[in-house]
């Protein structure tokens, strides 16, 4: 599911046309959801019930289940950035293609790690 969402987000940012001006935020919404889904899956496989906790709690405990410190830090940063992009912040404009691509890459790595655990 999370991978599917990420693919849809990718389609949005790689499209050459359509949803003009709308696609950056739409892709941000999808990527954030993909990340959150992957996170929830991770808990389901390892510590069922944790997926119901608040996002900040889930992220705070992430290093307990993921033995890849750079990935943990990337996931936290991607979530924070996506979260910011998905809330209205006065004065801030839509995320750029490059930012979205970076967050997607970080999300992708979380998904792969999650799948590895689901084995």
């Amino acid at each position: 599911m999370s991978h599917d969402l990420l693919d849809r987000a990718r389609e949005l940012i790689t499209a050459r046309e359509g949803l003009s001006g709308v696609w950056p935020r739409a892709a941000a919404f999808l990527t954030r959801q993909a990340l959150e889904e992957a996170l929830a899956d991770l808990w389901r496989f390892t510590h069922p019930g944790m997926e119901g906790a608040s996002w900040s709690t889930q992220l705070a405990c992430l290093h307990e289940v993921l033995s890849d410190p750079p990935l943990v830090s990337d996931v936290r940063s991607a979530w924070a950035s996506l979260s910011r992009a998905c809330h209205y912040h006065h004065y801030e404009l839509d995320p750029t293609y490059a930012e979205l691509e970076r967050w997607m890459g970080q999300t992708e790595r979380l998904i792969t790690a999650t799948r590895g655990m689901a084995g």
Binding site: I13, L19, C86, H90
Partner: protein, 801 residues
Amino acid sequence: MLYEEVLAELEKLGAGVHTSELVLAALQGEDSVEATLRGESPSIPTERDVDVTEHAPSVYLQDVTVSGFRGIGPEATLEIPPGPGLTVVIGRNGSGKSSFAEALEVLLTGNTLRWSDKRGPWKEGWKNLHHSNATRINARFQVEGKRGLTTAKAKWPEGSDLAGVRRTAQHHGERLTDLEGIGWEVPLDLYRPLLSYNELGMIGAGPSALFDTLSAVLGLDPLVNARKPLSAVRLRRQRFDKQVKEERRDLLAALEVIEDQRAETAMSAVKKRAWDLDALAGLGIEPSPEQSSLRDLAALEAPDREQVFRVAGEVEASYRELSGLAGTEVEQAQRLAQLLIRALDHHRRHGDESCPVCGVGTLDSDWHIATVGQIDRLQKAAGRYQRAKRRFQAAMHEAMQLVTVPSIPMPTGMDTSALREVWARWAALPADPADPAEIPEHLVTVHEELAKQAAQASGRAAALYSEREERWKEISPTLMAWVAKARLAVDSRDQVKRVKDAEDALKQVTESLRNARWEPVEAEALRLWRRLRMQSNVDLRSVELTGSGTRRRVELTVDVDGAEASALAVASQGELSCLALSLFFPRAMLDDSPFRFLVIDDPVQAMDPARVDGLARVFAAIARNRQLVVFTHDDRLPESLRRMRIEHTCKKVTRRRGSIVEVSDSHDPVTQYFRDAWAVNQDRHLQHQIAKRVIPGFCREGLEAACVEVVRRRRLGRGESHTEVEQALEAAKRLTQKAALALFDDVSKGGDVSHRIRLKWGGNFNDAFWDASAGTHRGYGGSLQQLISDCQALAARLRSL
């Protein structure tokens, strides 16, 4: 126009006619200055010669279309609403927004400030990497008095660099020309309707660069440029004078070693404070007295040897003859004849008688006859003696003639004492010598010595004469050439003084005209600064263009809490940006500028929100009679414009992968998010599965934006500072917190939000509120259309709080 102002200023200065003529000639260039110095009157310059401003028809921007340039790959167009008004183009850094601004700059000016001082890779970066086709920039303009649009195009030949741009222009239905052909170059340079971020940074580019930029607009370049011909003409003369002075030193050194009266004369003439050039010139023509005396001495000869010998011989011979006759009958004969002549006389008177002398004989007729015969014999003998005496006397006379002393020249550098001594001895012949027999001896021996001395002296004099003449001939051409140059140099000193006077006058004229023309620009800059500075404690007092040449600078005097200071020292980055805008706006706003559009790239960088409000007001004022296009990288300026209800058009620039740049209309965020939500809902290519996950997000942001808007308006309205308001908003991260601020003005009352919405507007709005919030994370399973319209209605109610 300028010409007349210059004349009036010169008159005010009380400049003399020579000075005024030179200043006017300087406006026409070096040749004119030279001609004026030669005494010709300068022709009166025409307006074309001295004035660069022509009234060009006004120009508005219609659109810019760019492909393959900087951040823009495939063709993208930015349209600007026609006529005066404010257009804000927002886009993240890297969105391609600034590429439009830069493209316009390259198209109009052939270069950009951003790159003009960059090298290497920067110069390469002007082409878009994602676009294999050629780079093109087109812009269309509405030009006053032209039907249809005027198109300007920039393209690059295969393989050329940025500078190789070919720019053309074409009025609708007219022939294609070079862009230079439509007369925009000069006004573009003067009024610069494109303010790039770098240009706004100009204020830090150094006082002289700023001076040039600001003063160019005053149209005084002809005056500034007129300094060059004057100084060139003056320097040429001063260099020549210097050269002549150096040559004078060499000349003196050469003269120093010459032993010649002329050299001395020349030196004293050259050493005088005012060179006596006439005296020097004279040295070339007339022989010097010294050379004359040498020449005379060389020509001096001893008396002719043959003559001397002849005279000596004659003296000797005549003296011998005379001596031979002395004491003889011949000598007595004369005396006896005298006695007998008197005795005959006595006989004739007294007749015959006895001799009264001897008393023995008788004086009678026989005696008388016999005596007459004797007298005759006696007198013949006496004649011989007389002749000998006369011959001797003649010989002596000749000798005396020979022994005269001629005037002997005494040239310096020659000892003539021996000659003089001999000659004096030669002359010491007594007129009545005791022993005339010594005379021939004297003549012959002294003459021999005299001849020797005279020949020696003459020879030496001749040698000296020609040696000096030789050396003089060597130096004389150099001297004469120098004299000719020196005359020019002396004349040119006077001209240098005249040119200096003209330079002074020109400087004063330039300064007073600059001040006169600068005054309104400065007043406008100060006015703008007062509107822009907002809460800044830095008050701009004056902007002065001072100094000239390498000392030219812009003096920005500010007042910080009552103390005077230099702006560059005390202003913050944001204040400097405002200062730059204050300085550059008046220039672009001058009535003489044909450009009714004005493009500003990112003026709000480093500005705090309060100052952005000031900027927004200034923009609003400018947009009343200018087509103002402002590029900006965040929402601060649009927010300020919206909040203050300043009419404007907003365009959003986004960039997709592959440098696909799109320009869309941008609205206030509330409207924008719901438009986006509707756009997703209506996109037929998008799966419902995706739409249900994306739409709640847009709805939530729409609601948040509505809350933020109402909070900001309310709090700023009651006098809270921007910083306080921003802090309060920043603390409200979630939708419920923002709603609590909007509804209760209290961020902690998030728990009461649901109740208040249900009570105030109805349960369906409360449902929509939570569906949007939760759906952002998990998607929304209900009717998306219902969700959007409910949220949109809720947002409208929130906004009206």
